[in-house]
Symmetry: C2
Subunit: 367 residues, 2 copies
């Protein structure tokens, strides 16, 4: 099988040899032994191979290490383990890029809906989509449903739970989803719209599966989930079996995004989230409350939409403090195959529902 | 209910206000809205409260923020989300410590065996335990079993899979576990020993549960699992229902351990791993191939063994380049309620099995 090639950025301290550091990664991520303890056969078959090593600026190096994809055994956890598992506990090592063998990609189903499928669900072609988060946490099902209804009447494409909404006593999952979905359906009938309501799924693998079934029975066509909270394989199973469109939320992922140690956002959110089947991937947009630069956002967008084996394309979902007034500008930069997720800036206006309706109009004009 | 108090270390850039940064965390981790958009009732019930703010050295601050534990709804994912979910994507924020309300702790079963239970399984009192990793990845079941047999004959307490062993074709799970367990049992009969073999469980929640059942049927009394790969709730369910002792492995956790952003190792590995039920927690020891200082290791040890509601104590399992010759020294520092996990330094000796036997003798003398 063609090999998996991982490009690591290395930061070398004074006196640290880039070659030794790179060779240590190739050993650490496979046999976890010094080279002298490994037979020639194991070295040949199992140990990562340092394919290339190049110096960059200021003590930074780029090392390409290739691995036999058979080491992954088709498991997402073992894929992440091979990329960054043990070396996460070292310093100055960053997974910057990955070249994916087709045969490995074929082991992952990827998005079941993808950009085209989500567009079909929403009945929207040729323009970006607008998603609104229902807020705040702490409201009961009735109040949340009323907010959903009004955003659906405003013509918003997707209305979603906050990812802090789980199954708390203040808004138990089943009751909340029943009421919110009912409210959105009523608004859709009134307006002739096709707004989707996406509840957040969390909890144990069994709870996630059960809540997905409940959401489907109640009429939902999509859901949101946090892979780093719910579990990589739980999300993979959800996307493979539930028949629901799935938005991936990046909660907790920021631990991996240090400048010189971690996994690049475009690999983690752009490719890994897509491999496990997210039809859209939420990320903190540049210029908002979070730290991504516009270059990082563009790289995530590219990874989500680029050809990748037979995998469907995923929607980028920039979020996290997008100013509703600036949406047309972002459309110009990110293109129309984007879902804009607006939260706080909308709630800060006098009439969030009217503002949302105006945003949809602007998006329609931009298309 | 008593509130959950999280102590965040903040690094403030020039011109950044520590108070504003802390107040933004209290909002971000709950309602994800500016304060002006939140009603007085929601602010009172839902938004985190800044309880204390103190300046440290060089632009560092310490902020104590309290939350209503009802926001967690008993889910591990939502606990991590509340501690660090969205703020992980900001900069200069580190979860340094947590004060846990008893009622919240009572929602987590914690270790089923704990230090005392694992000691009973191994039949060892009054001295530290020795664990050996079977290496290298790439060997087939027969070769792995032979290594297990010889370490069991050497009297090692625990023999475990590498965490890169999953269900790959070279050593499929069921066949590998059957042979290794058989080999250890044969050695135990021969020697009158009680060595445990711990296979690594990975894969989907269903695979983890199925492999746990298989391991138990084959006679295993314990397993190893990587919570960040397999999923928090998958591990929790495993520890609650499998009847197996569980060692937690820290693979991928290093993303969270940056000096000024993340979750402190003692909270993540020391407390969270214990909450989800790990009977022992592997971590990269000071002085080895990884970056933890001895202070960090001591803090992890303390969290694993301290009183914590009704939760059993967990074994610290320092690893990652422990020199077998230095084990007596580490026993002096870490105390006897420790499992020393030795890998590469043992394999680098002429006769790893004899070296292991000598290490066990030294531990017996140290007890």
């Amino acid at each position: 099988m063609e090999r998996l090639v991982v490009s690591y950025e290395l930061r070398c301290e004074r006196g640290e040899s880039a070659r030794e550091k790179a060779e240590a990664i190739a050993l650490e991520q496979t046999v976890e032994l010094p080279e002298a303890c490994v037979s020639a056969a194991i070295r040949e078959r199992v140990v990562g191979r340092l394919e290339k090593l190049a110096e960059g600026e200021a003590g930074r190096w780029r090392a390409s290490i290739s691995y036999d994809p058979a080491l992954i055994g088709g498991e997402v956890g073992q894929l992440l383990n091979l990329l960054f598992g043990n070396v996460s506990m070292k310093a100055g090592i960053r997974v910057a890029g990955v070249v994916w063998p087709e045969a490995l990609l074929a082991q992952f189903g990827g998005p079941r809906f993808g950009i085209d499928g989500v567009r079909q669900l929403c009945g929207v072609r040729g323009r970006p989509l607008l998603c609104i988060a229902v807020k705040p946490l702490g409201l009961g099902p009735r109040d949340l449903a009323e907010i959903c209804r009004r955003f659906a009447l405003a013509g918003v494409d997707l209305v979603k739970d906050d990812h802090s909404l789980a199954d708390q006593a203040a808004a138990p999952f089943r009751e909340r989803v029943a009421r919110c979905q009912e409210a959105v359906e009523a608004a859709n009938r009134e307006r002739g719209g096709r707004t989707l309501y996406l509840p957040h799924l969390s909890g144990s693998p069994r709870a996630v599966a059960g809540r997905a079934r409940a959401a489907r029975e109640l009429g939902c066509r999509g859901v949101m989930v946090c892979p780093l909270l719910a579990g990589w394989e739980t999300v993979r199973r959800l996307t493979e079996t539930s028949g629901l469109a799935v938005l991936g939320h990046p909660s907790l992922s920021g631990g991996f995004f240090a400048e010189d140690h971690g996994i690049s956002p475009e690999v983690l959110l752009g490719t890994i989230f897509r491999l496990i089947g997210c039809d859209g991937v939420i990320y903190p947009n540049a210029g908002g409350r979070f730290v991504f630069t516009e270059q990082v956002c563009a790289a995530i967008n590219r990874r989500l939409r680029e050809p990748l084996g037979a995998l469907r394309r995923s929607f980028p979902v920039p979020a996290g403090g997008i100013d509703v007034a600036r949406v047309p500008e972002w459309v110009g930069r990110y293109g129309s195959d984007t879902i804009f997720l607006i939260g706080s800036s909308l709630y800060a206006t006098d009439d969030p529902f009217r503002t949302a309706a105006e945003a949809i109009e602007k998006l329609a004009q931009s298309g």
